[in-house]
Structures are given as C-alpha cells and as structure tokens.
Subunit: 202 residues, 3 copies
C-alpha cells in the first residue's frame, strides 16, 4: 500500500519533469506535446519493464489513478511553470527522488518475479531512466543518460547496494531507504562536483 | 468479421501512406526502405497496443493476410506513385479514414479486455498514431503528431465521444460511426482551416 | 544445447560490435555509454522478437549468462580496441556471422510457436537487425539497415531460403547451415562489390 502511493508520487514527479522539458523546448509548447511528453516520461520506464517481464496487466492500464496522477502533474506544471522555471534546482531534487524510488520499485518487481539478479539491476535501471530515453528520442535529442553519465550510474550503484543488502538480515524497508539515499546522494554530488565517468580513447 | 475486413482495409491505407512518405524522402527510395517504413506505419500502432495489453497472438504474427495486405499496399503505391503524387489531398483523406478506424478498433480491443476507461482512450490513440511515430523516429524527424497537433487531438476527441456513447443505449455500430465521422471531420477541418492548439509560453 | 552456445557466441559478437560503434563516436566514449550501446545491440533484436511473440521469460532476464557474455564482450573490446580498430574487416566478418546466426535462431523460435510463415521471416529479420536499429536510433543516426540496404535484404534472402528448405526432407541442421552461408555470402559480396538495391524515383 505504501509502495502504491510512493509509485503515484513518483508518477506525479516524473510527469512534472516531462512537462517541464516539453515547455522548455520551442516545438512542444502546445498542450498535446506537453501531455504526451509528460505521459511518456512518467510511465515509459515502468511500461517497458513490465513488457520485458511479461507482467500484465500494466499498472496504468488497469488503474485510472495513474493517468489521473499524470494529468494532475501536467496541470500543476502548467500553472506553476513560471515560478518553477526560476528554481531549476528544485526540479533536479524531484527528479533525483523520482529515479531513486523508481529504481528500487523496479528491482522489487523484478525480484518478486524471480528474475536473474543482474537482470533485476537492469530492470531497476530501465524503470528509472527509460521514460527519459523515450522522451529524448521522441524529441530528437541525445538521451540524457548518455550526456550526464552519472545519472544512470547512480541508479546502477544504488541497485547493486540494494542487491547486496537483500542478502543480509536487514529489514527490506531499510535496504530500500539506504539504496534510495545512495542514489540521491551520488546524483546530487555528481551535479554539484561535476563528476563524470572517465572517457576511453580509441 | 466486418471489423476484420475494416482492419485489413486500414492496413492497406496505412501501408500506402508509409510507402508514400518513404518515397517522398531521398534516403529511402530503395525497395527495402519503402517496405520497412510501410510495415512499421501499418502495424506499429496495433502491435504496441497489443504488447501493452498483453493481447497475444498479435494479429499480423498469427495471420499471413496482414503481411499480404501490406505487400499489396506497397505494390499499389509503387505502381501509382507518380499519379498519386499529383493529388496529395487523396492521401490526406485516406490517412484520416485510417486513423479514425484505428482509433475505434483500438478502443474496442482495449474495452473488451476490461482496461480502465482512460487507458482505453490512450490505446485508441496509440493504435492510430504510434505507427507514424515509429516511422518518423526511424527516419529521424520530429513525429507528425507533435508538428500537426490536431492530428492526435482529433483521435482523442473521437475516442472520448465513443466512450460517452458507450454508456448510452445507442447500438455500438452507431457509436463507432459517429466517432469515426467526428475524427475525420475534425482532422479535415483542422487542415482546411489551419487549426492548431494554443501554445503555452514559459 | 548447441543453439544455446551459438546464441551466447552471437551475444558476445554483437556486444563487441555495439561497443566498437560507441567507441567510434565521440559522445559515447565513457563506460556507461559503451555498455548500454553494447547491451542494446546484443539483446535488442531478440528482446523485441520475444515481446512480439509473447514468449516469456526472455532469455537474458531468466539467465545471468547473457549479461555475463555481454560484459565479457565489452571488456574484450575495451582491451583490444586499439588493435581491432586497425582491422575493421574482421568486425564486418563477425557482424555478418552474427546477423546470419540470429536470423536463423529468430526464425526457429518463431516457427516453434506456430506463427504465420511470413511473420517468421519478419521475426528472423528483427532478431538480426533490430538491435542495431535501436542502437542507431538512440545515437540519433539513420539506422544502418536503411543506409546499407543489402544488410537487411541478405537476412530476408537467407530467411526465405530457410523457409523453403524446411519443406524439403533435408535435415534441419543442413537447412540452417545453407541459409547461414547464404546470408554471410550475400552480405560480404554486397560490401565487396558495392551492391545496393535499385532506387525508385518519385
């Protein structure tokens, strides 16, 4: 039940970040472009995860509340767009909370279905970042996960932490919280200190 | 049965519109590029819908007639390309009929599987427009649904009309026809009168 | 069992070719970009095939060895990148072997599930080329299958040969080998003699 509301909260955060990205680009400033981008960002990752896992029905297909939450996120962003545009760091925080929650929710779902442990890490990563990949591909940009490398790497690090903690006697809720804090911490530190992965020369 | 032939008719229309788009672009004028684009345009939307719904087997996988219909559409377009190139409005009409039929077919399929009503609207929209989105993404263009906003909005309007009429005592066939005419009407009027959604400033 | 190791061998080949493509482009030279591209190239086609067929669980989700094989391919390419960069023809040979094996593996899987014969050809093609399409779409390039037309056409030709041979009394292993040699032969000849499909004028 807590995980259900967590999930809806993540959906609102991602819908807002998707709508913000669309509003920020000239071509997408009409309401359909904004809504479609918000939708793809909010449910794209989880939908791809469930399709790969064969886990039907997919949450937003069976339950109207997801599309209502997305609509709420869009309306919130349209109303608050001028105020929020002035404080982009708040969106970074929301986005970081969003990918951290989605990584753990995605791993949990995969592990419940008894997938291979490494595949569960990939599923957590996909849940967190593939909404953004779909969004960026649609708007014809190099996906953010390729531009800001620590973005995905933070999710993978948190997912591996969660995988290790699952084998200890720690209660699941603590494993989840420690992993979420790990992801948020790495992400925010990477932005603040401009961390990036080393580049390989050919 | 009628819906089966309707569907195959839509497949031919969309295959022709996909082949036309490929022929119209320099890079795609060889037969493979044309065929692949026609294929993606014709079955992309329905395939994505069935994958999201978990509705297997997918029509064109189980039934050769779909790929035969696509091949027919490609051959027709290759033979008639010079004549049809001179009358683009005919293609607009075919395309509008295609998205209108696909919207209602997609919603019907979703509602049969007892999905949430709002998700059924999304499924109708996906069936109608995602073939074109895949096509445009593959050929590295901003998807048409973002450029001609009323394109998708017409499908959503028709889908909502259909959803409301389903709750009345009207026979389903009339609900379908009224919704299809609504979509075609909005689409053609939008092109003729250059309607577009209002843009939001940041 | 042989098919299992064949498959893992193909995964390593494709992971190497994906990692090479990423290393060859400026933007993707960090380890995450290389790994993600290698992963998408190696399993993208087979994953799309299994999703369309509804054939769960997908191999790499259920079996850690696939992700281990991809990791091995990435490490191999990172270590050998300077040596292999000097002999690009070797990569062409590996890639040609890869698409040939994947085409037949994909068709076999589809025919096992009793799909329509033409759909099995499409499934073989998808298994072979869609990993590359996803990769090229992600890095914002026109997919290779559209630029080097004989690439996909070779797979389709080999798939049709396999389909015909299945109706003869020839043992399956021979049908497979003849089809694989057909694909590799057409592909290498097309590169050597610069074959391409005729272009259609509008």
């Amino acid at each position: 039940m807590i995980s259900y509301y967590f999930n809806l909260f993540g959906v609102v955060m991602f819908a807002m970040s998707g709508a913000f990205a669309a509003l920020d680009k000239n071509l997408y400033k009409d309401l359909f472009g904004i809504s479609f981008t918000a939708f793809a960002t909010a449910v794209g990752g989880g939908t791809l995860r469930d399709i790969i896992l064969g886990a039907h029905p997919i949450a937003w297909v069976a339950d109207n509340n997801y599309l209502v939450a997305i609509t709420a996120g869009i309306i919130l962003m349209v109303i608050l767009r001028k105020q929020l545009h002035k404080i982009p760091r708040i969106l970074l925080v929301f986005d970081s909370i969003g990918i951290a929650i989605y990584t753990i929710i995605g791993m949990e779902k995969a592990l419940d279905l008894d997938v291979a442990p490494l595949a569960a890490v990939v599923m957590g990563l996909f849940t967190a970042v593939m909404g953004g990949v779909i969004r960026d591909t649609l708007i014809n940009e190099i996906p953010q996960i390729f531009r800001k490398e620590i973005y995905a790497t933070a999710c993978i690090a948190g997912a591996l932490v969660y995988l290790v903690l699952k084998y200890t006697t720690l209660p699941d809720i603590w494993s989840a919280l420690i992993s979420i804090v790990t992801i948020i911490g790495i992400r925010l530190a990477a932005v603040k200190f401009r961390w990036s992965l080393p580049k390989l020369e050919m």
